[in-house]
Symmetry: C2
Subunit: 367 residues, 2 copies
């Protein structure tokens, strides 16, 4: 039964937010942003090539339906990156990587139409890079076919994303109770356009950091796990900030905890060679979890997985630190910040979350 409830442990995850046009009218006038450069590019990816020869004249129809692939290519599986570089930019850019069902949009705004982390961190003078991971959103071109099923599932996400226990909001939730905000939040979701493949995603973000040089990686939910592996792979990643990562923290071989129970079943986090794991002890790492995550097992699936993942996170940080690293887990309500959902960066108090995060960057001399 629990098995039915909780199947994919490692691939978990999350999403985020947006509303908008009311912004101009309702928000108080901000200081203008001063941007030196902005643009977009693709990074990573693979190429599919069909055997045969392409004939530009015989290969007739201008509509792709029925097009003969002979001799043609398909470039796919790349990430799409949108970037903005402020004037007087700080040294390290921040790369923002969305979670499950989300896209770069989760950083662009909030469900109630305020500024997202994209703009908030630009105001703090960080160059900002927003990713659409391979096979998602504006990086939707996939080298593998896929079927998209339109099946209603939003009330489930309402719970998993810890807005409340549907149809009730958590009373203190940092999420606007204006129905328009919830609608914008739902409309922020974006499907996979091909099979989810963490390896492709890691390759794309690895390539991005090869291009950018040194910088800071921010992950959320499902990108948490691939984020750890990308940081193992790429020494240009000088810090990782992870909002509510899934339970797939990578432990050194032989050191994964065996005591974590999720929905009544034991879950075992993945492991990697100690040599690789040690790379995660060389950079500062901070992990944030929001509110409404119980200490004890819960029958509410919207809380239970996060309880288990927070437990993994704590054990993982202990392991990192035991091996000489610098990993911190912040359970926000424990430091007096209440009501956060699975999307602290777009919650009503996202300015406070941003300040907390940037203060940490200062402490680590990464600003």
């Amino acid at each position: 039964m629990m098995n039915k409830y909780f199947t994919l442990l490692i691939t978990v995850s999350l999403l985020l937010s947006t509303t908008v046009s009311s912004n101009a009218q309702t928000s108080k006038k901000q200081t203008p942003l001063v941007i030196q450069e902005q643009g977009s590019f693709a990074v990573g990816g693979t190429v599919l090539k069909a055997a045969g020869t392409f004939d530009p004249i015989k290969q007739g129809a201008y509509h792709p339906a029925g097009v003969d692939p002979a001799g043609q290519t398909l470039h796919g599986d790349h990430a799409a990156v949108y970037y903005q570089i402020p004037v007087k930019a700080k040294k390290y850019p921040i790369v923002f990587w969305h979670g499950h069902g989300e896209s770069s949009r989760c950083w662009q705004t909030t469900p109630d139409g305020r500024e997202g982390f994209q703009t908030i961190f630009l105001r703090k003078n960080y160059p900002v890079y927003l990713i659409d991971q391979p096979r998602r959103g504006n990086a939707g071109r996939s080298t593998q076919s896929g079927t998209l099923t339109a099946s209603p599932d939003e009330q489930l996400w309402f719970g998993i994303f810890r807005i409340g226990i549907y149809p009730d909001y958590y009373p203190n939730v940092q999420f606007s109770k204006d129905p328009k905000a919830l609608e914008q939040f739902y409309r922020q979701m974006v499907p996979n356009t091909g099979p989810y493949d963490a390896k492709l995603n890691i390759e794309a973000v690895d390539t991005l950091f090869n291009t950018l040089g040194k910088g800071i990686l921010v992950t959320h939910s499902q990108s948490g796990g691939p984020g750890w592996l990308t940081a193992v792979k790429n020494p240009n990643i000088k810090a990782v900030i992870s909002y509510e990562p899934g339970g797939d923290f990578v432990f050194p071989d032989g050191e994964a905890p065996t005591s974590i129970v999720l929905g009544g079943r034991t879950i075992t986090p993945p492991t990697i060679p100690m040599e690789d794991f040690m790379k995660l002890t060389k950079i500062p790492i901070i992990i944030y979890y929001g509110d409404h995550i119980p200490d004890q097992p819960s029958t509410n699936p919207g809380q239970e997985q996060w309880r288990a993942f927070l437990e993994v996170a704590r054990k993982w940080a202990e392991t990192v630190n035991k091996h000489g690293g610098d990993a911190t887990v912040v359970h926000l309500p424990k430091v007096g910040i209440k009501g956060n959902t699975h999307f602290p960066f777009s919650d009503l108090n996202n300015l406070e979350i941003a300040d907390l995060t940037s203060k940490w960057l200062e402490e680590k001399r990464l600003n």
Copy 2:
């Protein structure tokens, strides 16, 4: 069989390093952009609702595979909009609507990594709104299921988008011959995530103009046709600028030309009631087509369709003007601007195209 046809070249293309990040180093330092506000929102769309009752506790799995839709909703078919408003903004915002297989990314940059129309028009002090139309890119959540087929087709697009006759570039083409630019161009493409539905797209853009108030609509290629119908529907659209629209210009009932031949077959443009058509005579309209569109029928499908569409465009502008309107068709090589592809706004001479366009806006007192 598919495996036999296709070879997966695991190229992990390390693309773009020069295309992108070198931008900061190699391009001459531009004046900074000064942005008053930026963000994102969803607009339009429909809601799917499954019968039954949702139980947040029993409704277990947090992974959507196998989730029981009972009592749940799916918000989809909206457009996603990313916007930037400069300080000292001009009165009318410009809404940019991509074409087939594209997304908002086509306005964000150029294949060779220069500034796209998004940034160029911000520099001209226009508020800029970029759309991902319903079921595309970051508006990928669809209320109808769909199958995405990964079938190589890029050499076809090389021809249809008039970069050249594959594998040859047109000698004077306004497209960088650096292979990295072509790769970036290919990686800009994004599939539909559900059935293409022009009606949904029109509704979303109509709703956007209801939200924004008066503004200017820019269309490209496939969005040309729905763009005319949106302008019929929404009086807030004060002008239409269309880059290489498709052949579905809307004529008044009984006035569609019957003489247009495409690839040896007669094509008949759609018609609408005269009362609706007359709305298109109340606003200034300009239509641009690029180079390598022949005057006579061609066996090259990459040229033939544009020859036919340009012929429709001319007859349509005549019809609009005959009924008192103000429609202009500019065939760029005829005014001395050579080598443009199907994407004049991201071609090597896109600054010149932008100047031409903004001069027209000035003439029409829309600046």
